[in-house]
């Protein structure tokens, strides 16, 4: 537990040290939303914002993973593996990435409201909306970390990450969109919340069981 926390805080320090990478990810989110604003400043369609928001969340998730992959060279990985158990390592990475994606998506949500106003924005409950963004984004972060940890061991990590991530994230995206439209438009299906919680838990459990096997190179 203590090691886990040390690893998470280490990720923080590493990201803080290379702030330009951090800012580039945030800048990308800003550019994404601002270009949507330039294309159609009068957009007020809630459904459109949901699909766009989820799409840009996906982008920021992939960017987070790329940032992660670039930082860890093969030598560094081996160095880490000599220091901590693989399970602690992957769980710490998942925690940090989930946190990072949640943060990015909250920033994006604020940016959308900043540019497009609040005429379209009438959530049935703010607590539920925040919970939805939290659960959906962390599921994205966790799922993508798992895909990334598989992709990292292949010859073309970036391409494989894109393909694997798309495949692994589709149920998450589906549940995320269902919950968001439930909060912003109405009628959430009762299975959407369990599904997104499952999509949070399964990659977490699976990688904590399977990652030690992957590690034995």
């Amino acid at each position: 537990m203590q090691k886990w926390w040390r690893l998470v805080s280490h990720e923080f320090t590493m990201d803080f040290k290379s702030r330009h990478v951090l800012w580039s990810v945030v800048l990308f989110a800003l550019a994404c939303i601002y270009s949507l604003y330039l294309v159609n400043p009068d957009l007020q369609d809630t459904q459109m914002f949901i699909s766009f928001g989820v799409l840009s969340a996906l982008f920021s998730g992939f960017h987070t993973m790329q940032k992660d992959q670039q930082r860890l060279s093969k030598g560094q990985l081996i160095y880490w593996y000599t220091l901590v158990a693989p399970r602690t390592f992957i769980l710490a990475k998942m925690t940090y990435n989930a946190f990072f994606v949640v943060l990015l998506n909250l920033i994006q949500c604020i940016l959308i409201i900043f540019y497009f106003g609040t005429q379209w924005f009438h959530p049935s409950s703010y607590a539920e909306l925040i919970l939805a963004i939290l659960a959906g984004s962390s599921a994205m972060g966790i799922g993508l970390t798992m895909a990334s940890s598989i992709a990292q061991r292949t010859q073309q990590p970036t391409t494989i990450l894109a393909i694997l991530g798309f495949a692994l994230l589709l149920p998450t995206l589906f549940a995320f969109v269902t919950i968001l439209s439930g909060v912003l438009i109405g009628h959430t299906h009762f299975l959407a919340w369990p599904l997104i919680i499952i999509m949070n838990v399964i990659p977490f459990l699976l990688s904590s069981i399977l990652f030690p096997y992957l590690w034995r190179d």
């Binding site: 292949t154 495949a167 589709l170 599904l195 499952i198 399977l210």
Partner: protein, 342 residues
Amino acid sequence: MMKNWWKWICLLLLMYVIIVALVVPLVPGSESVNITSLHPGLQRVEITGYNTHFVQEEENLQCYVSIGKTLVKGQNLSVISETQAAFDLILPDTIPDKNVGFYANTDYDGTIYLSTAMRMEGFILEPNTPWKGDVITVKNEEQQFFGFPFQPNLFETIRNLMFHVPMWFTMFFLMTISFVMSIQAMNQKPEKDLKAAAAAEIGLWFCALGLITGSVWARFTWGAWWNKDPQLNGAMVVFIVYATYFILRKSVQDEIKRARLSAVFNIFAFILMILLLMVMPRMVDTSLHPGKSGNPAFSKYDLDSSLRMVFYPAVVAWGMLGYWMYRWQTKVNQYKNEENEG
């Protein structure tokens, strides 16, 4: 010869399934009537059947119409062709009910029935009308020969049940094999990885066949090759996920590493498949797919068990074929592996 007995059974069953599924006719049914509204007094109604024998059974033919629970017999019956007959219908001003059904009965075809929405023009609706109707004596309710059930909209496409549904059952079967082999491959047995890959490959073929047969069926019953349907999208995503599995395999050179990586992915893909095909289609209430969101599946209308007689052998036969192909593919994979090593 005796060693491969199950392969012979598989071939025989497949032959039985394909021949019977394509050759057995549909039981008689009624397709349409030529009118869209009814009015009091005399009117001529033409009823069109499917696979019926009106000319052959001309003297036995009876046509009648039900208004609520009352039956009205058709007069001046004339047979136009084997599938078409016309009759006069005389209706009173006051009727007890607005539900109309059209019937035609012959000894050979049994009773065929069509219930369509009719515009009722100029009737007085009086639920307690004392109206006896005509006495109709029907000798034979059931058709005389063996056939698949006749369903409006489905017609001949009901045969797809013997091809489309077993494809998915076989895919589930093979993916389960692949899942089990992957778990074993994780536990210090990298050689099982080749088996997992073989099962997933054949399963992917069955998935593709399931998508194709479903798509062709949808074109003729729903009107489009692809619909906005959770069941279809889930199946497509499963296809993509398992196709990804092979891309992942191809991008790792080292054998043991490949075994571990693809096993991890395969375990996750299997859980995703369960989620996508079993859970997510139930999340949406607007599925067109039979058996989902209250749509009838085959067991609901299959009263005479004629479909079951072919469907269960079909499931076994396609499953055996899948298993056979899986064993074959395993050998191919092993040869390829040895070749690469040597």
